[in-house]
Amino acid sequence: MKSAILVFPGINRERDMARALKLVSGQEPAMVWHAETELPAGTDLVVVPGGFSYGDYLRCGAIAARAPVMDAVRAFAARGGLVLGVCNGFQILCESGLLPGVLMRNAGLKFICRDVHIRVERSDTPFTAGYNAGQVIRVPVAHGEGNYEADDETLKRIEGDGRVLYRYCAADGVVDAASNINGAAASIAGLLNEAGNVLGMMPHPENHVETIMGCTDGRGLFAGLVAHLDRAA
C-alpha cells in the first residue's frame, strides 16, 4: 500500500498517522508538503491527518482546503482514489467539497480528549473492511470542533445511502444522546462520500494501534485498507 500523508503548516498528527500506517502496512508513507501540486506516482491512499492547520484561526480546515495540493487530491478522488481524513483532516475534506456538511464547535463548547466507543455501521467498504458490521470499537477523540452538521435533505440522503460508517455509541453499541460526545447530527463520527472512496472521521484510529496505547481497536481500519488494496492489486 503506497500512502501519502498531507502536511499543512499546523498539522500535528502526521507522525502518529505515519507510524500507524507503517506498523500495519509495513510501508513507510510519503509525506507530501501542502505546496506540492502533484501526489507521488502510484499513490493508493491519501491521508489528511489531524492537527490545527493554519492554527484553525479561520473556520477549521478552510485555509488548508485551498492549498495547492488539494487540487491534486480532488483529481485523485475523482479518479476513484482512496482518501481518508481524520479530525482536522475531516474538517479539511468538508471545506474542500469532497464531503458534504460542516464540523461545528462541540455542543459542550470544550475541547474533549477521551476514549469513545463508535459503532461500525457496515463492513463492506474499504474503510471498514477490517471490522464486522455492528462491531463496537474504542478509539480516542481529541477535538474542539467535531459536531457534524448538514441540512436535513443532505442528512436524509447520507442515511439513505448508508454513508455513515461510524457512529458514537455506548460501550454496548446503543446510540444515544449521552454517548454523542460533541452533539453531532445522528451521532455521526465517520462519513463516506457519495462515490464511496472518501472517508472523514473525527476519532483517531491511529492512536489505538499498539498495546501500549491501551487498546488496538484502531488497527482494523488500516488493516481493512491494506486488505482492500491488496485485493484490488
Partner: protein
C-alpha cells in the same frame, strides 16, 4: 543624539520598579544618566523575575550535580542523560500574574514560553505537565479563572501538538487574589546535539526569527515582580497573546536548521524579550552585541526603541548563525512562512549597543547588566512552630466510610477529569500512563525506554513547616516516579512565594529551599532547572508557599511500569511503610474536622529511599501487580482510588489495635505505598521485606464490588466513583462550591 525622549525623573524610575538605591547603582555603573531606552533595559534586566535578586543567594545552595546531569540551572532548560545517546531536556516555569489578569492568554503564553525553552536547546517536546493553584471555590472569580486557565493550557498544547500528561489542581483561599499557573515541558534530544545560549566568534550575524514584534507584554516581567492591588485589572495590556500555530512552525523550522548545522547559539525571547535574549547571548559568550532595531520585523508602525526592547511578543527567537549557512537557514524559515532578519552582530567590545533610526539609543556594559544586578540578602525569620496534633485528641465526626465518601467529593481530592479531558493527552502515540495515576509514563521514541513524569507539592505542609514541606515536595515527586517503576533522575523547581521583602515570607522561602536541598541530596535527585516567582501577594496577603517540584525518572522498559488500579480479585493488599496516624495538616483534619492545623508529617529521607527502592524492586521483579503511593487523604483515599481505577472492591481488616481508627485510615504519614501481590507471592514478599527491615503488613484482600471494612460496613465502588467524579463538573456548571 536622541530627541523626544522622556526626562528621567524619580517618578519615572519608580514606575520602572527600580528603587532609589538601585537607580544609584545604575548611575555608578555607567557614570551618567541613562537614556529612556537604557532605563527600560535596566528595569527589564534587574527586576526580580529576570535577576533573581532576592533568591540568587539561596538558590546557590541547591544540589545540581550528578553523573547523569548534562546541564544544570542557568540555561534555557536542564538536560539529563538517559543513556543510548539520548538526553531529556526539561523545565517548569510560572505564569502566575498574567493568568490572574487574563486567564486564557496568561496560561497559553505560559505553556508557549516553557515549550520554547525546551526546543531552544534542540529538543523536540514530548510531554507537558502543569500545576495549577486556584482560590477558594466560593470566591467569585475562581470559576472564571479555572475555566480560562484550563482552556488556555489546552488551547496551546493541543494546537502545538504535545500531549499534556499530568499535573495538579488545587483550591485554597490563599490563592484568591493570586492564582498559580506552573507549566512544565519535557523534550527529547540527541545527547551530543544540545544547543546553548552563549554566542561565540566576533562579527557573527545575529538573526531574529519567528513572529513579528508588537506592543504586547511591555513590562510583563516587571509586572510579575510586583504585588497586586485593587488596580491590577488595569495591567491587562501587559499580558501577551499566544499563537501556538506560530510556535509549531518555529519548532519545526528551528529543529530543521539545527539539524542542518546552521546554529552557533540560540536563545528564545521570553521575559523581557529582545533585551534579555541579546544580553544573555553576548554576556555568556564574553562578547558585545550591536543591534539595529530598524531591521526588527514589527507588527505595527512607529514603535520606539524602548517599546521594541521591552516587548514580550511571543514566538520569537534570537540566534547566532554560522555566516556561511545564512542563506540555507533563511530558506528554511521562509518555507515555514516565518520572519527571518539579520538584526545585528557580535562585537569584541562587551558593550550592548542598540541603534534605531541612525541614533544610538543604548550603549551599556553587557556583562554588568546581568552580573551587577542587585543581590539582596533579605532578612528572614522562621515562623512559629505549630504543635504536633495527637490523634487521640481529635474526635471523629463520622464513621470512616462516610468520611471517605465526603473526602472523594472535596475540591482537592476529587477527580480532575474535567481538567485533563480538555488536554490532548494521547497525541504522539507514546502515552503509556495517562493522567490520573501517580506519575505519567511516556514511551521514548519506539521504546523500550520510558519516562516517568510528575509534578508535586503540598503547600499547606510548606506553610506549616517550610523545611519539612520542602522535603516532602521532593520526596513525593520521587515517590510518585517510584510508584510507577521509574528510577528518579532529576527535578525542576518552580518556587512560588509572596513578597520577599517581608521577613516571614523570606523565611518560608529559605526554609523550603533548605528542605528541597536536603531531600535532593538524600535521594540523589538534583535540581537541573527552575524558576522563581515572588510577590504573589494581593494587598499584603501572600499565597501559601508553593515550591512545585517537577520530577523526571526513567524506566528501562516501559512495559514494566506499574499502575494503581486493582488488577484481579483475591490479591493481597500490602501497606508498606510505618503508620503512626499523623493527622496534623491532613486533608481529613481540614475538610472533615474543620481544622487546618498542626505540624505536618515529618519526612525521614533515609526511610523514603529504603521503602521506595524496595517497591521499585518489586515492580521490576513482577511481584507487585498494582502500586499507589499514599499522599493527600491517606490510606483509605488511596485504597478507594485503586478500587475505582480497577473497578474492583476490597475487604479490609479493622484498624490495628493501639491506633485511633480515623488516624489509621486518614493520617498522612510519609514514605508509604500500597501494593497488591498475588497470593502465590505473598509469603515470599513478606519474608523478603522483613529481612531488609521494611515495615509491611497485609491490610486486606481485593475482590467484589464494594469497599468493606471489618466492623465498619461497606460502600459500593460505583458510589465511590460517582462521588469522586461529581464535584468538579458540578462546580464548573455553576453548582456546589
Amino acid at each position: 543624539m536622541m530627541s523626544n525622549q522622556p526626562k528621567i525623573t524619580p517618578e519615572l524610575v519608580a514606575s520602572h520598579g527600580l528603587k532609589p538605591d538601585e537607580y544609584q547603582r545604575i548611575l555608578d555603573l555607567i557614570g551618567r544618566e541613562p537614556s529612556f531606552t537604557e532605563l527600560g533595559i535596566f528595569s527589564a534586566m534587574w527586576n526580580e523575575h529576570c535577576s533573581y535578586k532576592s533568591s540568587r543567594k539561596h538558590l546557590r545552595g541547591l544540589p545540581t550535580k550528578a553523573p547523569w546531569v548534562i546541564q544544570g540551572p542557568g540555561e534555557n532548560a536542564g538536560v539529563i542523560d538517559i543513556g543510548d545517546g539520548q538526553a531529556v531536556v526539561f523545565k517548569m516555569e510560572s505564569h502566575n500574574h498574567p493568568s490572574y489578569i487574563e486567564p486564557y492568554q496568561g496560561a497559553t503564553t505560559g505553556v508557549g514560553g516553557i515549550l520554547r525553552d525546551v526546543f531552544t536547546m534542540g529538543a523536540r517536546p514530548i510531554a507537558c505537565l502543569n500545576a495549577l493553584s486556584f482560590g477558594d471555590p466560593s470566591h467569585p472569580r475562581t470559576r472564571h479563572l479555572v475555566s480560562g486557565v484550563v482552556a488556555g493550557v489546552g488551547g496551546y498544547g493541543n494546537s502545538f501538538g504535545v500531549p499534556t500528561v499530568g499535573g495538579q489542581t488545587r483550591f485554597h483561599t490563599r490563592y484568591d487574589g493570586n492564582i498559580l499557573v506552573n507549566a512544565m515541558a519535557v523534550g527529547l534530544a540527541p545527547a551530543d546535539k544540545i544547543f546553548y545560549a552563549a554566542a561565540s566568534g566576533v562579527d557573527m550575524p545575529i538573526v531574529y526569527l519567528g513572529s513579528k514584534t508588537g506592543r504586547d507584554g511591555i513590562h510583563g516581567a516587571t509586572m510579575a515582580s510586583a504585588e497586586f492591588d485593587d488596580a491590577s485589572e488595569e495591567k491587562r495590556p501587559t499580558v501577551q497573546v499566544g499563537d501556538p500555530f506560530a510556535e509549531k512552525l518555529l519548532l519545526e523550522a528551528c529543529l530543521e536548521i539545527m539539524a542542518k548545522g546552521c546554529v552557533i547559539a540560540i536563545q528564545d525571547m521570553g521575559a523581557a524579550g529582545l533585551t534579555c535574549s541579546a544580553v544573555e547571548m553576548g554576556a555568556k559568550g564574553d562578547l558585545g552585541v550591536d543591534l539595529d532595531l530598524d531591521k526588527v520585523p514589527t507588527r505595527e508602525t512607529g514603535m520606539s526603541a524602548y517599546e521594541m526592547m521591552l516587548s514580550e511578543s511571543q514566538e520569537r527567537m534570537l540566534m547566532v548563525l554560522k555566516p556561511e549557512k545564512e542563506a540555507e537557514a533563511e530558506a528554511i524559515f521562509r518555507k515555514w512562512g516565518l520572519d527571518f532578519a539579520v538584526v545585528g552582530h557580535t562585537t569584541p567590545t562587551r558593550r550592548f549597543v542598540v541603534k534605531h533610526g541612525g541614533d544610538v539609543m543604548a550603549d551599556l556594559p553587557i556583562k554588568e547588566l546581568g552580573d551587577e544586578a542587585p543581590l539582596y540578602d533579605r532578612p528572614f525569620v522562621d515562623g512559629a512552630r505549630l504543635p504536633v496534633i495527637h490523634a487521640r485528641d481529635v474526635a471523629a465526626p463520622c464513621a470512616p466510610l462516610a468520611a471517605l465518601t465526603r473526602l472523594l467529593a472535596t475540591p482537592d481530592l476529587c477527580s480532575k477529569r474535567w481538567v485533563w479531558e480538555q488536554y490532548d493527552h494521547v497525541i504522539l502515540g507514546n502515552t503509556v500512563q495517562r493522567p490520573g495515576g501517580d506519575a505519567a509514563v511516556v514511551r521514548v521514541e519506539d521504546g523500550p525506554k520510558g519516562l516517568a513524569l510528575t509534578v508535586d507539592v503540598t503547600p499547606r505542609y510548606c506553610e506549616a513547616d517550610p523545611f519539612e514541606g520542602g522535603k516532602q515536595a521532593v520526596a513525593e515527586a520521587w515517590r510518585n516516579i517510584t510508584a510507577v517503576g521509574g528510577r528518579p533522575l532529576a527535578i525542576t523547581d518552580n518556587l512560588n512565594f509572596g513578597n520577599p521583602e517581608r521577613p516571614e515570607i523570606m523565611g518560608q522561602f529559605v526554609g523550603c529551599l533548605r528542605g528541597i536541598s536536603a531531600a535532593c541530596t538524600a535521594l540523589d535527585f538534583p535540581v537541573v532547572s527552575g524558576n522563581v516567582s515572588l510577590y504573589n501577594e494581593t494587598n499584603g496577603r501572600g499565597i501559601l508557599p508553593t515550591p512545585s517540584i517537577g520530577g523526571v525518572g526513567v524506566l528501562a522498559d516501559f512495559t514494566q511500569s506499574a499502575t494503581l488500579a486493582f488488577k484481579v480479585e483475591g490479591e493481597a493488599i500490602l501497606l508498606i511503610g510505618d503508620t503512626h496516624g499523623w493527622l496534623g495538616q491532613s486533608v481529613y483534619l481540614r475538610d472533615i474536622c474543620g481544622r487546618e492545623d498542626g505540624a505536618p508529617p515529618p519526612v525521614d529521607l533515609a526511610t523514603e529511599k529504603r521503602n521506595g527502592d524496595v517497591v521499585r524492586g518489586m515492580i521490576h521483579a513482577g511481584t507487585a501487580t498494582a502500586v499507589h503511593d499514599l499522599a493527600d487523604g491517606g490510606l483509605l483515599v488511596a485504597l478507594a482510588e485503586m478500587a475505582i481505577a480497577g473497578k474492583i472492591g476490597a475487604t479490609l481488616d479493622a484498624a490495628p489495635d493501639g491506633l485511633v481508627p480515623h488516624a489509621w485510615w486518614f493520617g498522612e504519614d510519609q514514605a508509604r505505598y500500597l501494593v497488591t501481590v498475588p497470593q502465590s507471592e505473598l509469603l515470599g514478599v513478606l519474608t523478603k521485606l522483613k529481612a531488609v527491615g521494611v515495615p509491611v503488613s497485609q491490610i486486606g484482600v481485593t475482590g467484589g464490588d464494594r469497599l468493606a471494612i471489618a466492623g465498619e460496613g461497606e460502600v459500593a465502588v460505583k458510589d465511590l466513583d460517582a462521588a469522586f467524579e461529581r464535584w468538579l463538573p458540578e462546580y464548573m456548571a455553576g453548582g456546589a462550591s
